[in-house]
């Protein structure tokens, strides 16, 4: 869709000015737009992790500077929302609070990470336009920084999870250590989503508000404040409830939430989320290959 703009009708020459790019002898024509420039961007961004680790950490510390509790405020407000929604919906659905509240709480923790990657991803390059137009750096460092910051927020939110485990103990077992792998897969997906959404939203500035509305809507379409099993058990709505399987975010949430609540994971969820990661990265690399060099022109 972006190809209708004049901006994209040009051919960019990759290999330009990559500070640590392999040396090409002068006079040798560099390859046309290929995936190497996209991979190189990601690899160089990873190589500069000292920078984005510091920047992401700084983002968190900044919040501590403004108030004593810092990001804990966000954690607390998330916990309050989760508890309020948990109590409300357990009454509405007539469910045991000890069942629904952990479900809602852990769901919200996972959701906060996903929603953060999507909505902040839509502004990641525009918000860093000063850095992008003044300092040559791979565009991926801004996305690494974003995902790293979201990971640190996630770690903060785990405090609530710890408290929850004390109040409502969950049947955790050593196999639930798969949570680390599940979260890693979530991070891998968060990276491509933020990159893709970021590049497209930099070109089309009316997208971020749309994306934020969609994320808001998806919150209700994903089983966070409600339980999929409960709807499935109700013959009146079971047919409609099955549509949630189409929602990719359902599988993301399930992948991380189930081990955190000591529930069995389905292989199906792993396959679907891994599949989305592969397809998503393929799409993102395609977009990066063509438009990565344009981001500096667009911001």
């Amino acid at each position: 869709m972006a190809s209708s703009s004049t901006a994209s009708s040009s051919t960019t020459a990759p290999g330009s000015a990559a500070a640590t790019a392999p040396a090409a002898p002068p006079g040798v024509k560099p390859p046309g737009p290929d995936f190497r420039s996209a991979f190189r961007d990601l690899a160089r961004g990873w190589g500069q992790r000292e920078l984005w680790l510091q920047l992401g950490w700084q983002d968190i510390r900044q919040r501590y500077r403004r108030s004593v509790l810092g990001p804990i405020w966000i954690t607390i407000s998330m916990a309050v929302t989760a508890i309020a929604l948990g109590i409300l919906y357990s009454a509405l659905f007539g469910l045991d609070l000890a069942t629904l509240l952990p479900h809602v709480l852990v769901g919200m923790i996972v959701w906060t990470f996903i929603a953060g990657c999507i909505s902040e991803g839509s502004e990641v390059f525009v918000a860093n336009s000063g850095l992008i137009t003044h300092l040559p750096a791979p565009i991926s460092i801004h996305v690494y920084r974003l995902v790293w910051r979201q990971t640190l927020f996630f770690a903060h939110n785990l405090i609530v999870y710890g408290v929850m485990l004390l109040v409502f103990p969950q049947p955790l077992w050593w196999t639930d250590l798969s949570i680390f792998l599940a979260f890693a897969l979530l991070v891998v997906n968060g990276m491509w989503v933020a990159l893709l959404v970021g590049i497209v939203s930099t070109r089309f500035r009316d997208l971020p508000p749309v994306i934020q509305s969609v994320v808001q809507l998806l919150f209700f379409l994903t089983p966070i404040v409600w339980m999929y099993d409960v709807l499935l058990a109700n013959p009146a709505v079971a047919e409609r409830a099955r549509w949630v399987e189409v929602n990719p975010l359902f599988h993301f949430v399930e992948l991380v939430r189930r081990p955190m609540l000591g529930q069995d994971q389905e292989w199906r969820t792993w396959f679907i989320v891994s599949g989305i990661a592969v397809v998503g990265w393929a799409l993102t690399l395609l977009v990066m290959r063509r438009y990565r060099g344009r981001v500096a022109y667009w911001v």
Partner: protein, 253 residues
């Protein structure tokens, strides 16, 4: 081997307006078959055209030209911020661009942390910056202020800090844009010394400035930019004379 090879490079800027920035308008313009919308092309500014430039280790190139002639865009092309829209730009070497002293500085964090972050942005490692911190602190003469957030600094203090970091690095390719001012004269003298050391350390320098003095101190050759193209390239004095001559001629400008 440090080198810059630019072959017939062009940089075109798309100038988006509210409509072309909008996905809705772009999609509707295509799907709806709205003729008026389809004929309204995105305006493109040709910032650079047909740039051919070959620099090797040891080159000290001055960029001269009027405001808007394309000096800053050329520096951004050489730094890799802008990929050429046509042609190619091959740059081998670690690039340290110094375009805007303030960029990459966070007002909320302390001067010391800003030194680290700015250095990381310029391609240094954390270790390298930690080794340089004392030297930078001494140069800036900021003392205990370095522990205060940057927002408490005056403009002059910020420039000192930025200059201190920038002149402490070991770049292979140094790209300098003017705008290094706003400091008191005594400090500027010291900064000049450091700037000279920095340039001596750098393998390759491209320096855009309106100050003949600085250019003559730091550069050996020059490139005169006009309307996004190379007007003249050669030894510094020759190009400067031609540039000044034209500037003062009645037909010039």
């Amino acid at each position: 081997m440090v080198s810059i090879d630019v072959h017939d490079a062009c940089v075109d800027f798309p100038i988006f307006d509210a409509k072309s920035r909008s996905l809705k308008h772009t999609v509707l313009g295509v799907v709806g078959g709205n003729v008026a919308a389809n004929t309204r092309k995105v305006v493109v500014i040709e910032a650079l055209r047909g740039i051919d430039l070959h620099l090797r280790d040891g080159d000290r190139l001055a960029l001269v030209g009027h405001n808007g002639a394309g000096k800053s865009t050329l520096l951004r092309l050489l730094s890799g911020i802008y990929e050429p829209t046509r042609g190619q730009a091959l740059v081998n070497g670690r690039v340290a661009p110094v375009f805007d002293l303030g960029v990459g500085m966070d007002p909320e964090i302390s001067g010391l942390e800003n030194i680290l972050v700015r250095g990381l942005f310029l391609g240094m490692s954390r270790k390298q910056m930690e080794a340089r911190v004392d030297d930078i602190a001494e140069f800036t003469e900021l003392g205990n202020f370095l522990h205060m957030p940057l927002r408490t600094y005056s403009t002059g203090m910020r420039v000192r800090l930025a200059l201190g970091v920038v002149t402490s690095i070991d770049p292979e390719i140094l790209l300098l844009d003017e705008g290094i001012g706003a400091v008191d004269a005594a400090f500027l003298e010291r900064a000049k010394g450091r700037l000279k050391d920095l340039v001596d350390r750098a393998g390759l320098l491209v320096f855009a400035s309106h100050s003949d003095d600085l250019l003559q101190q730091l550069c050996t050759s020059a490139l005169w930019m006009e309307h996004g193209t190379i007007r003249q390239q050669g030894p510094l004095d020759e190009v400067l004379d031609a540039y000044k001559g034209r500037e003062h001629a009645p037909s010039g400008g």
